[in-house]
Symmetry: C2
Subunit: 189 residues, 2 copies
């Protein structure tokens, strides 16, 4: 998506070959019009897939996921990150290891807001190693819900997230795919 | 706001006299149409106040804040919760004690996304003791930004949040004000 790529080039900052900062338009400050255009793109792409729910991961995915849910007129569910396992029969829980932050957390989903009849579109801001999204997939499998697709704002295509998800049979649709980056340059594929 | 009050009565659950669960439409699952109507209400109420930025607190305030920022055509800023103080000259930080969760966290705001020229509307999901919002106010004061108003989805009017904020000179606009609640009944004022 040209608009997002241009914004990344103008306002993103590659700290090194792995870390891209998008604090001024996605992660800390959010550009609502840009997010709205991204959401429209997801809604058009996944139209006709019978989506009943948008699922995202706390907290940077909330903005694009919410606007996609508004576009598609279905509820959004925010998977919560807990520091440790909570004993609660009403929750699905799975541990996610974050390479980026070097921490672990429990991703949780309440049984109350998901069912086996749900067709879920997962939306997140970044796809790199795919830990967060595969954690979300595990939770949705526990609920016997169907993952109908995965929508990503920015994919680090030089990391193995997409391959893992495609190998598991999922469609990944990313609005910007970074092939490589360094302090001086960001290249899209 | 009648629509939000009706939703609280139909889908909210008062666990006891202090805790209201709104997991199925605000906190965990989000009803995008309801949030959109709430955002419209905030935008209409605070129109003409010269708002340049919407600020919210990670993560349950993001949904109403984002839609308000879209309505008002200004950026949104998400104040991040960190478990401990980060040494970084580019950040404003302040400690917030959460009565509800019995924990402390560092609320952070990057200097990059705020300036002394900003007129800020703070949006959050709940107002109870007002710790989170007063933390946000402290950060905005550090940046010499102006707090132009505070918009809240659900106010627990039997707790002292509003009084603290009004005593400090701020306008608080809440869409639903709970006067009292118990397992059997929720009363609005």
């Amino acid at each position: 998506m040209r608009l997002l790529e241009e914004k990344i080039l103008s306002d993103g900052r590659a700290i090194n070959e792995d870390i891209l900062r998008v604090d001024t338009f996605i992660n800390h400050q959010v550009d609502p019009l840009l997010m709205s255009r991204c959401a429209r793109e997801f809604a058009v792409h996944f139209k006709g897939k019978g989506i009943t729910k948008i699922v995202t991961i706390e907290s940077s995915g909330i903005a694009p996921a919410l606007l996609t849910s508004l576009e598609m007129n279905v509820p959004m569910v925010i998977l919560k990150k807990q520091p440790s396992k909570v004993l609660n029969d009403d929750l699905y829980q799975t541990m996610v290891a974050s390479f980026t932050k070097g921490t672990n957390y429990e991703l949780t989903l309440s049984k109350e807001v998901i069912s086996e009849n749900d067709h879920v579109l997962i939306i997140d801001d970044f796809l790199a190693n795919g830990e967060a999204v595969t954690g979300a997939v595990r939770l949705l499998r526990m609920a016997h819900a169907t993952v109908a697709g995965i929508g990503i704002l920015i994919e680090k295509a030089f990391q193995p997230g997409r391959e893992k998800l495609e190998d598991a049979g999922f469609e990944v649709y990313s609005l910007a795919r970074i092939g490589s980056m360094s302090k001086d340059q960001i290249s899209f594929i």
